[in-house]
Amino acid sequence: MSFVTATNIFQSYGRRPILERVNLSVEEGEFVSIVGASGCGKSTFLRLLLAQETPTRGEIRIDGAEPAREPGLDRGVVFQRYSVFPHLSVLENVIAGESFRRPWGRFIGAEKRAARDRAMQVLARCGLEHMAAAYPAALSGGMQQRLAIGQALAAKPRILLLDEPFGALDPGTRLQMHDFLMDLRAETGMTVFMVTHDLEEGFKLGDRVLVFDKPRWDLTDPDIIGATITYDFDARDGGIPFQTIKEDTHVFRPN
């Protein structure tokens, strides 16, 4: 039984179909990159995974549970922007990951101190310890996204959804963020879905790369056909999973 299943997803806005016949099953711990041209429905699919929208037809289940009707604790998310709360300090942002589920949204007393210690560990992991008291506006773009990821993970979600998380970062910072994300994933074994328009990034980070595109093209009315998953690449081992040489061939190989 796979962990995340999407069965026969259709999604249309008004009469315009965006997605059609999307079927997907993902194992626990897989890193799925989702790529495609602009407007091909990859962000729509992420919103469906997030349960921010419900599909017109079909259903998405996590671990066999009933399809969710609104975003909840089992799904963590990091958007390209606005993923952290500007009015909370960096530390408070991470604590919010645990405290927002409470009736008043905050901890008091001993619980608060314990949450503070845990949050400091998260910040240490994200390399943001020294900024704990600052407000997000004082952070660079990369730091803000690290904070957003730390905050999402503090809530311990079942799956992590990333919507072009590094799209607004400069190339150097982006590479650092890749390393950060890979390390974090190796530690937690989290199931991750990442929408990106950067193919290289998709293949570098993902175990699987899904390509969203329209399967057919209607010349008279291009909008009549929705997009679906047109390619599903296995991207482990640099994208050549079946060419790993298992036995020792006593032949000179570079590297």
Partner: protein
């Protein structure tokens, strides 16, 4: 160099700030002098020295009949009305703004209604307020509320709607209920905007206060101005006008300070 890129130095800037005030004062003094030269008993433009004299008398000497210094008495009465009116409006506006901004059901019910109600000219319903609430304090406070509450609600609900959807969704994925989202995400982000909106509505609030006091009252700054108008006591009127302007200016400054002091995160994001 283009004009848009030229900036005055510190000294010149201070001089430029003072310039219109000084110019106004000089223009008034000259006009007053010219009128008084023609007719020494002219009452329309009393000399600045006369106004200063009157101001000192108003601020220090008690009224012969009531034994009270009417100036402070009026100020207190007006400030209580203004504070009550603006304070009640602000509290109601925050609550309704959050409800309209966050809950689609409340938005569907109230947004259109508030938009229509905000078009009612408040002074047109003043007679109704006097009839319903009597001529006492209540009708004056209610006039201020009627005058500024619809604007505040519309402004604040629009601000709540401006909070990026991503941020709300993020809070949802952290397990926040609607209540926690209102309390911990929307409300804190609304507070600096509330102060801005209140600063903007202080002008109308003063307008409605003085209008209500002018029509039916026994004390208050507006009442006094319209009372002494009958005697053409320009020196008293001008003293009161300057005082009201000063009060309004100080209130605005205090609100700006509060905004900077308590919401440091808004400054940094600009």
């Amino acid at each position: 160099m283009r004009l848009i890129n030229r900036h005055p130095g510190i000294v010149l800037r201070a001089a430029l700030v003072a310039l219109p005030f000084v110019a106004l004062f000089i223009a008034y003094a000259l006009g007053s002098q010219a009128r008084l030269a023609e007719n020494p008993s002219d009452k329309l433009m009393p000399a600045p020295s006369k106004i200063a004299e009157t101001a000192v008398r108003l601020l220090t000497e008690p009224d012969r009949r009531s034994e009270k210094i009417l100036f402070w008495y009026d100020t207190w009465a007006s400030l209580v009305r203004l504070t009550l009116g603006v304070g009640i409006s602000a509290v109601l506006a925050v609550i309704l703004g959050l409800l309209i901004g966050l809950l689609p059901y409340v938005r569907a019910t109230l947004a259109g209604f508030v938009a229509v109600v905000s078009m009612i000219p408040p002074l047109a319903v003043l007679p109704i307020l006097f009839i319903v609430f009597g001529l006492g304090e209540l009708s004056k406070v209610v006039l201020i509320i009627v005058g500024i509450l619809p604007f505040l609600i519309r402004d604040l609900s629009a601000r709540v709607l401006e909070i990026p959807r991503e941020m709300i969704v993020k809070a949802e994925t952290l397990g926040a209920s609607s209540w926690v989202i209102a309390l911990r995400v929307a409300l804190p982000q609304l507070m600096p905007r509330l102060i801005q909106a209140v600063r903007l509505s202080l002008g109308p609030a003063w307008l409605f206060l003085i209008a209500a006091e002018a029509i039916a009252s026994e004390q208050g700054l507006g009442y006094r101005i319209f009372l002494v108008r009958r005697f053409l006591a320009m020196d008293v009127i001008l003293t009161y006008v300057i005082w009201i302007t000063l009060l309004a200016f100080v209130m605005d400054m205090i609100l700006r300070r509060i905004s900077r002091r308590f919401f440091p995160w808004t400054e940094a994001s600009l």
